[in-house]
């Protein structure tokens, strides 16, 4: 076991997989010599050489298209898109090609590509360095979509993603690369070394995709969330005094409906939290699923707490960010209202 932050845990997952599987190749903008703008690939090119860890031209569409070609030719590409906000030039390659290759060839061809990309706000990145576009991709059939909330999960889920025969979009919430963040930007930064999930095994281990985790057991309500917001939700539970069960969804596609709905059926109340915008966001899918599966157990309408339906504004980051106060208010509201 070692203490790792999320960057180190991701680096370790890539290191393990590059070492175990000669088919794994890692590439993206500034990923090779420099080691990535967030340092996630630091040292890997030196260790595995320039044919395994590559810099690429600045062309996200090209990066994903090349990954598909490599995948079809027997490699297991791990492509980095430098910011999730930069992924859209690759949209056609991801949606029309990567996601559907297996289906349209009746299983004859596939490309086991993992796309890693940092997402989320809270770093004064404005609208082009803060987005959480996971819901855009969960809507696409044939993509697995993952977002870890801590170093331990990040490594285990990334290894599973690389080992998956299906394409995986792996979102890395950059606000928690260096430490958990409870939603209060005025507090001093907390490192992962003081968090139990900063304990990360050195070698290979896999966390199965499609498995949610109960982060905090509770009886009064269920709080469904993922990524950075797991930590904000914990702060909100403390703030509200509501004994909420917090579930880290972790894997958005496939979704662990059993764990989610067992909890909601137990508590009878559900608050859904994500940083992404609300309208047609992933919370809408969670809400619909909970409604379908748990309707007769619900004591109150399901509540959603999300980013507002605007681009991420540079000056109003903390008015935009769905912080503990808003989540706590929603928790109190679902406790008050009776179905």
């Amino acid at each position: 076991m070692a203490q790792m932050n999320m960057v180190q845990a991701i680096n370790s997952a890539l290191d393990v997989m590059l070492g175990r599987d000669p088919r794994v190749v890692v590439f993206g903008e500034d990923v090779g010599y420099f080691g990535g703008v967030f340092r996630c690939t630091d040292g890997l090119q030196r260790k595995y050489g320039e044919h395994r860890v590559l810099d690429t031209p600045i062309a996200e569409g090209g990066i994903i298209a090349a990954a598909i070609g490599m995948g079809v030719n027997g490699l297991r590409p791990v492509a980095e898109i430098q910011f999730a906000d930069y992924i859209y030039p690759a949209f056609d390659q991801i949606v029309s090609e990567l996601a559907r290759l297996r289906y349209r060839t009746a299983g004859d061809l596939c490309a086991p590509v993992t796309i890693r990309t940092p997402c989320g706000g809270g770093i004064r990145g404005g609208q082009t360095h803060s987005q959480s576009p996971e819901g855009v991709f969960t809507h696409v059939c044939g993509l697995k979509v993952v977002m870890p909330s801590n170093p331990h999960d990040a490594k285990g889920l990334l290894i599973s993603s690389i080992e998956s025969e299906d394409p995986v979009l792996f979102f890395e919430p950059k606000r928690i690369y260096n430490g958990p963040f409870d939603g209060d930007p005025h507090k001093p930064a907390v490192p992962w070394s003081s968090h139990p999930k900063g304990e990360v095994p050195d070698g290979h281990y896999a966390i199965a995709l499609g498995k949610a985790e109960i982060v905090r057991p509770g009886a009064a309500a269920t709080l469904l969330t993922y990524g950075t917001m797991v930590h904000v939700a914990e702060a909100a539970v403390r703030l509200s005094g509501v004994d909420a069960e917090i579930i880290d969804v972790r894997s958005l596609v496939p979704l662990d409906v059993d764990t989610l709905c067992t909890s909601v059926c137990k508590t009878g109340r559900c608050v859904i939290v994500h940083e992404a915008t609300r309208f047609s966001g992933f919370g809408a899918e969670l809400s619909a699923t909970v409604q379908e599966e748990c309707f007769w157990h619900l004591e109150a309408p399901i509540a959603r707490v999300t980013g507002w339906d605007t681009p991420y504004p540079h000056a109003f980051e903390w008015d935009y960010f769905p912080g503990p106060a808003r989540i706590a208010a929603a928790l109190r509201a679902v406790m008050e209202s009776a179905a």
Binding site: Y33, V37, E50, I58, P89, G126, T310, A329, A330, R332
Partner: protein, 424 residues
Amino acid sequence: MTQSRLHIPHPPARPGETPDFSYLNIPPAGSVARPDTLAPALQVEALGTGMVRVLDEQGHAVGPWNPHLEAEELQVALRHMVLTRRFDERMQRMQRQGRISFYMKSTGEEAVAVAQAMALRPGDMLFPSYRTQGLFVVRGKSLVDLMCQCLSNTRDMCRGRQMPIMYHWAEGNIFSISGNLATQFPQAVGWAMAAAIKGEDHLAATWIGEGASAEADFHHALTFAAVYQAPVILNVVNNQWAISTFQGFAGGEQRTFAQRGPGYGIPGVRVDGNDFLAVHAVTRWAAERARAGGGPTLIEHVTYRAAAHSTSDDPSRYRPKEEWQSWPLGDPVARLKAHLIALGEWSEERHAALEKELEAHVAACWKEAVTYGTLTEGPTLDPLSMFEDVFQEMPAHLERQREQLRRLLHEPDAAGPRSDVAEG
């Protein structure tokens, strides 16, 4: 038996190694012929491999591309370039002090934006990249306005919605800078197509870095420009570095960026980007061509990114620290200054006075800008304004969200246990 091999481009020097720019083909100043502005694209292919240069080593303007500008205009140009550099330096310092969140300098590349903005007409539309602040300086946007944008304060043209340096200036005919690369390149072509459709003689000009020329949008721009012969000037600012990857990773090892033009049927001109006179001259040539119905021109400006990519970047990790000192095309400010001195129209004393004057001007602008607020000190923008301009008219769901935020900000107690207000 032979087998295919992957070629991995390597920059000539990494940290600790001796800078080496021998890969650059730099012909002597004045050696490239100046074709007629309406010469067919295929007859001017040599412009893509040579390098248009006007200023020689002694600071004299030589050869057929000499634009013969008045000394007064050159002095204005020097002023714009020095002002751009002083502005950049001040803003970098302010970022280091935590007054703004981010900044990108254009140090070493000032001649490109300044010469081109001066060579074009005010009615021409500019689609900038994030390292062409000289365009705003030449067009007369006040530094206070630019600073207020970087500060996201109450006078911010973007109303707090954009990261620093993402300026725009609709009245000044400068489009909005995007944080996403290369998007402006084909947009400029569309603007130029509209000018032609409307029968106007304005043209569009746009800029990207050589790294961003790898994006598909670059190729969309060249295809559309060529198909419709749109009146547009497409500028690739080859400053050798795209964050940590050198120009070889954008395809610069095989051909010059200017040479891509002829592949599409567009003239490609390679120019010494640190030579104010040369940049001015090729821009005039391209503008005359566009206005006379000759269609688009691709210009590659060979220059060097002297600063870090941004305040988030540390170039000492991937290139020699002193590489700029070895850059064979020098410093654009120093070269124009030397030329003016050689003409007898400038002196070290006047230059020192200019630097001092502009430093004071920038300081005064900053002092004024912060009176409109900073990220951390008031006055501040109203957060409720974030819901405006998503649509022309605010739809009901945004009105509801604005009301939720209003209550949260102004009636924190009311944000408590009421299902109709809490995220309803």
